[in-house]
Chain length 512, copies 2
């Protein structure tokens, strides 16, 4: 408890220093960008507007942005004290982690050692794994110990999962016994489960406590918790209810927690899928969702910021799969050329070989093609249009499934809608294309009609196949995203070419 | 102030009733699903696990899920008091809004009138616009007035934007003067701007206040604010700093706000793009971002739950555009067939007509095709593989741009990476396809080599075009998502066919 209060004091002192510092700068009439606006100015071009500045907020705003150039300049001039101050008061850990990617190893270690330990730990958790390894190699055991102590447990687990075994050993060696046990526990949850993204630091209250007791408890332990916005009521570790900090503050202090707690709260299990947990947090507008184990004991919370990251990752994964790329957890640049090839080749190979079917169909009409070679000119247009139609339908359905708007039971409703859309679309396309054929002298009315009928069949088949395959995939437990453009367009190619040559060889009496 | 305290009392009473009720049910030994688990059970199939239940949490958990069937049954039996209780204590507004879509008009109005006003307002804000119109037609002026009073201002604005003019007039008539002015203000912000999604209810503190004063103020006004987790320090309305509720609670009560406030906080302008605001909230893990006007006066906040919705909408929009569908704000089923056609036809038409170029190229090789008709059999495979390769690259780059990982200045880095990937991929594809051609007797070594070289050129062109067009689009201010599969595959079709026929007519001396 005393320790926590010490932190609080420390923090206040820092804040004071900061205010003082800003005022000094503004008195000296220091120009440059305003601190508050650093993030706006960095993205000013994108944001469209120019950052507004007035005299009124001088006292608080005058501070030059801490860029990589300024940091390196200060390092060269050995202005360590000034740099330390600026790093504390004029830099966000997530931005610093970006900057550290572009400095050399010596500077990296130097800068990292200037950080106060909370910020060091947070910056460390935002770094990429290469940078972390360099840093771990350079820091002393006691420095590492401090970082490990300050990091939230979920971040620690993320770090450990990405490190080679010898580094993990070293990190675990400098971690205290209790935390090591918690880490081992978390590492055992399956990948992509709620347990693997949850945070074990939350505020637990008893239902017998008064509101006053509860607020006192928050005062004591709050600084070590990632979020205090919602507190959880447990009895022998079992989750009984939730109390929002707002309710605690707006209620009489003598009331008992049991009276004001919400017993109708949502929760999830450690083994639940992280995406479902994130979607629940989003749907109900929650700040955090409590996670319980099989005995209904509360073991952690998933917070809204982690939920946002989960959703972004899942959406990136969906977009990759929809483009025929096996997803990995790394970023685009973080993925090596070899891994990119590995992720892309399976679908390309499978689809290329599937196209053999198309080829065999066309080869069976070789004689017809030899007689009327101009027929083949229409093939890319027909397969292209079919592919685009199928891709429109499948993408909309895949997205509808992902956000929970469409379900398997809507199958016939979706198909009926797509058929009506397809009829309208194909009529418009067929008429315009028919006119084009005649105007450009590529054929007579019969040719225009033939292509038109093929177009209509193609569009309708493409839309029905495109909308139903994702739903069927979902039903049999596959990821609907695999039923996207690449696969759909290959299937549509096959059907388009079959339909096309069947129709033209009938109409023009070419015989296969 | 007195009003606020009255609400607090009311809420506590409700919570007590709820607890009491649950205990009664469990004493009667009522079976059925547990309340807490209703949301899990509803999605049990998807979630993969079975909901764990034990005896330990009986007191709090025994409550049957309030399904549409049970609601309708209670309405028929005229058990209004019981239904009112259940609606208060066993139902989330977002779920109720879903259920209300499936009841008839009479039941809709009946159920809505049973809701306590806070829940009525929240349910109303989750409804679709058709349902809202029905309800507005059925409610009395004073009932509407209550709903309008209880709704958060950002939700009110959303409702008004979707209503026909006569309904808007009626709604504004029952709104008090002050709120009407605020609404008019909000309606003037451009669509998709931070101003249009912000909430004007936040807690403003003065820097001279002590922590004790601040907590007292939160107690007084907190219940009417959407979020109290972060409070903002203003001076003559100008944004000076931010204080987290955690800092207020963990700090000595006599400290002055100026000492503990964070002056280095992030903020955005009313005219900033809502997606950028949402991405900032996500990047920095914020609960809310303050929004200021051109005079740096604070006018509202964008909260993390709204940011999540903005991001989901933007991602749905991106996926639509990437599939060649002009996005609209409605859901899949909320969009009429005519609107679906309108959204899909422009790209289909444009791409179909662009395919005329492909056709003209093929027609110019008519003589060659007549001599070797089997050449055309390779066309769908080559264009398909090219399209898939291009679509892989463009999708990864579009996503990288959306999440801020890739920027225009990375153009050459991206192209270099894609070229290396393309070389590896094309080698693998060409060799395997060459073997297939010979094994299946579709051609000799020369044919296999020719197709292999074409394949390699196609893949490299596709990957370079696919990765650079989204970046170039971004540079000239277009949405990178339009440079996705449909457009890329049409462009790749043209280049593939040009390359293919140029190579084969050279190798087999066919002459155009």
């Amino acid at each position: 408890m005393t320790v926590n209060f010490r932190y609080a004091q420390e923090k206040i002192k820092l804040q004071r220093t900061r205010l003082q510092l800003i005022k000094d700068v503004s008195k000296e009439g220091g120009g440059g960008l305003s601190t508050n606006q650093e993030f706006r100015d960095a993205g000013a071009e994108e944001w469209g507007g120019t950052a507004a500045r007035g005299d009124f907020d001088r006292d608080y705003e005058e501070r030059e942005e801490l860029t990589i150039e300024r940091i390196q300049e200060m390092l060269e001039k050995r202005q360590f004290k000034e740099l330390k101050d600026e790093l504390e008061n004029n830099m966000y850990p997530v931005d610093l982690a970006d900057i550290l990617e572009d400095v050399n190893e010596k500077q990296l270690v130097l800068i990292f050692r200037l950080l106060v330990k909370e910020e060091a730990a947070e910056t460390f958790s935002y770094m990429n794994s290469d940078l972390r390894e360099v840093l771990i190699g350079a820091l002393t055991d006691s420095e590492l110990e401090e970082v490990m102590e300050e990091m939230y447990l979920d971040d620690t687990v993320d770090v450990l999962e990405e490190m080679p075994a010898n580094v993990v050993d070293r990190l675990l060696m400098v971690t205290n016994e209790e935390k090591r046990m918690q880490i081992n526990q978390l590492l055992q949850y399956p990948e992509d489960s709620a347990g693997s993204v949850m945070n074990v630091d939350y505020i637990a209250l008893n239902k017998e406590m008064t509101v006053e007791d509860a607020i006192l408890k928050i005062r004591q332990v709050g600084l070590n918790r990632e979020t205090i916005y919602t507190c959880y009521v447990t009895e022998k570790k079992r989750l009984m209810g939730a109390v929002d900090i707002k309710d605690l503050l707006t209620t009489g202090e003598s009331r008992v927690i049991e009276e004001i707690m919400d017993t109708n709260m949502l929760y999830a299990h450690t083994t639940d899928d992280q995406e479902e947990v994130a979607r629940t947090i989003m749907k109900y507008g929650l700040i955090a969702l409590p996670i319980v184990d099989n005995e209904h004991c509360m073991v952690g919370i998933v917070t809204v910021d982690d939920a946002m990251i989960v959703l972004q990752e899942e959406e990136t994964e969906d977009i990759s799969i929809m483009a025929g790329v096996n997803p990995n957890d790394e970023s685009y640049f973080g993925t090596t050329v070899f891994e990119h090839v590995k992720g892309r080749i399976p679908w390309l190979l499978f689809l290329m070989l599937s196209a053999t079917i198309t080829q065999m169909i066309m080869n069976s009409y070789e004689a017809a093609i030899a007689v009327m070679p101009q027929l083949t000119g229409f093939v890319p247009m027909l397969t292209g249009t079919g592919g685009n139609c199928g891709s429109q339908s499948s993408s909309l359905v895949i997205r509808g499934l992902a956000v929970g708007e469409i379900e398997f039971c809507d199958l016939f409703k979706v198909i009926w809608k797509e058929i009506r859309v397809a009829v309208c679309v194909s009529l418009i396309l067929a008429v315009i294309n028919g006119l084009r054929i005649m105007v450009m002298g590529q054929g007579d009315v019969l040719m225009a009609l033939t292509i038109g009928v093929t177009m209509a069949c193609t569009v309708i088949i493409a839309k029905v196949v495109g909308c139903s395959l994702p739903l069927l995939a979902k039903k049999v437990g596959l990821d609907p995203a695999i039923m996207a453009t690449p696969l759909i367009s290959t299937l549509v190619d096959i059907s388009t070419i079959s339909v096309y040559f069947a129709i033209v060889s009938g109409v023009f009496q070419l015989g296969a």
